[in-house]
């Protein structure tokens, strides 16, 4: 059996670690609540934009716009594919980062010229070692997502897309299904696809209200689409932030739980060792006393 002092110091070290994991658990849970609130605040705007695009598409089925251009002429091998990968800045979040990396690896395995835009320190480390092209000017943190940062990111992406430096853009992020389930997911950002805006099929004989686009359809689309892309990126950032903290919360909770059970086990061992020491001492005293009597 281990020595009493050793067990004592082990218990203390586990207790210290437990303090840290417990604190991280509480921090993550408060950050997650904030992130969820933020997401709820921006939802009406985002759904409004989506609804408007679908309305315009419904009224102008023949509308050609550069954001809807699929660029089919470019062969598969030469397509420039950009991915915005959203990971965490640090680990300690269970399989959160690992899942994102795995999904991105699947994209990288497909034909095409790949370019990565990594948000988050951990992903940047991983992919720089792997030797894929990473946009080096793209240095953003995932902490506290703001509209401003989303605007910066979407500005850079939309620009490269319009210049023909990118033909397809994906976002790889973690979506929160509910508080226990979160999945790493790929979302196609550009070019936009008509099918995404479930265009309603309307009977031919129905009267449709006519909508004037002022000053022109292009003008209006130019206002809507960049904002829509912006909203999608913001949504992805916030959702990823919320899932990161959810993952960290769960990881820290199970760490705290296992620390607790470890302490419980160790304290039993400790008590036994202490009891054994006492018993031995008594036996020794008794034996000594008896030896004295015999004399």
């Amino acid at each position: 059996m281990a020595n009493i002092r050793e067990i004592q110091s082990r218990i203390n070290s586990v207790k210290d670690t437990m303090k840290i994991t417990n604190a991280m658990y509480m921090i993550s849970s408060s950050k997650m609540t904030q992130a969820k609130k933020k997401l709820a605040d921006t939802e009406p705007y985002f759904y409004g934009l989506q609804g408007e695009i679908s309305r315009i598409l419904r009224h102008l089925p023949e509308l050609k716009h550069r954001f809807f251009d699929q660029r089919e002429k470019i062969p598969k091998e030469e397509r420039k594919i950009g991915s915005i990968v959203i990971t965490a800045d640090k680990g300690l979040a269970g399989a959160y980062n690992h899942n994102i990396v795995k999904v991105e690896e699947e994209i990288l395995a497909k034909p095409g010229v790949h370019k990565l835009f990594v948000v988050g320190e951990l992903g940047r480390h991983y992919f720089s070692k792997r030797g894929v092209e990473i946009d080096t000017n793209f240095r953003y943190t995932v902490q506290k997502p703001t509209m401003h940062r989303a605007r910066d990111i979407s500005g850079a992406i939309v620009d490269q897309y319009l210049d023909g430096e990118l033909d397809e853009v994906y976002v790889v992020y973690t979506r929160m299904e509910n508080s226990v389930q979160a999945d790493a997911e790929v979302m196609k950002l550009l070019p936009l696809e008509r099918a995404d805006f479930n265009v309603m099929k309307m009977p031919l004989n129905m009267y449709r209200e006519e909508i004037d686009l002022y000053p022109s359809a292009e003008h209006v689309m130019d206002r809507i689409v960049p904002n829509y892309v912006n909203g999608m990126i913001y949504g992805a950032l916030v959702e990823a932030y919320a899932s990161e903290h959810n993952a960290r919360m769960m990881a820290m909770k199970s760490a705290t739980d296992s620390a607790e059970s470890l302490i419980k086990e160790l304290s039993i061992v400790y008590n036994r060792a202490r009891q054994a020491a006492i018993t031995q001492e008594i036996t020794e005293v008794c034996a000594g006393a008896r030896a004295q009597q015999r004399k």
Binding site: D41, Y45, D222, N227
Partner: protein
């Protein structure tokens, strides 16, 4: 007097929802007014100042960012990236924003950065204009 339903949605909140008598918004080629029973329309909005008449003769001014307004069946929805009342604007912050943008404008930038700064400068100047007009009116 006749009214129409107005909903102003900014990117971070629902700014206003209720009835309105008339509305003036900054379109790319000048201001555009909307009265009740307006024709169905989608109008692009530039950075500028929108005015809404909520009660007769009472105009409220709002600094708006880029976006668009949708008029359908006597309902108007404004979707803009920012919307602020004059009293919500922090003049000092807006001034700092303007100075920062002006500073960046003087430096060599890529075209993308230039547009970015230009947009930021436009937002700052718009905020200042609304906030300072308000100050003189007091």
């Amino acid at each position: 007097m006749e009214t129409f339903g107005l909903k102003i949605i900014a990117s971070d909140r629902v700014f206003y929802e209720g009835r309105c008598l008339s509305l003036v918004i900054p379109a790319p080629d000048g201001e555009k007014g909307i009265l009740p029973r307006h024709e169905n329309m989608v109008i692009a909005i530039d950075v500028g100042i929108a005015r809404m008449e909520l009660k007769e003769g009472e105009w409220t001014e709002v600094a708006v960012g880029t976006g668009f307004a949708e008029v359908v069946n006597n309902r108007v929805t404004l979707l803009v990236d920012t919307a602020e009342r004059p009293e919500e604007i922090d003049i000092r912050r807006a001034q700092e924003q303007r100075e920062r943008a002006e500073e960046q404008m003087r430096q060599k930038q890529s075209i993308q950065e230039y547009y970015h700064t230009q947009a930021s400068l436009a937002r700052a100047m718009n905020r200042l204009r609304l906030a300072q007009d308000k100050k003189w009116n007091l």
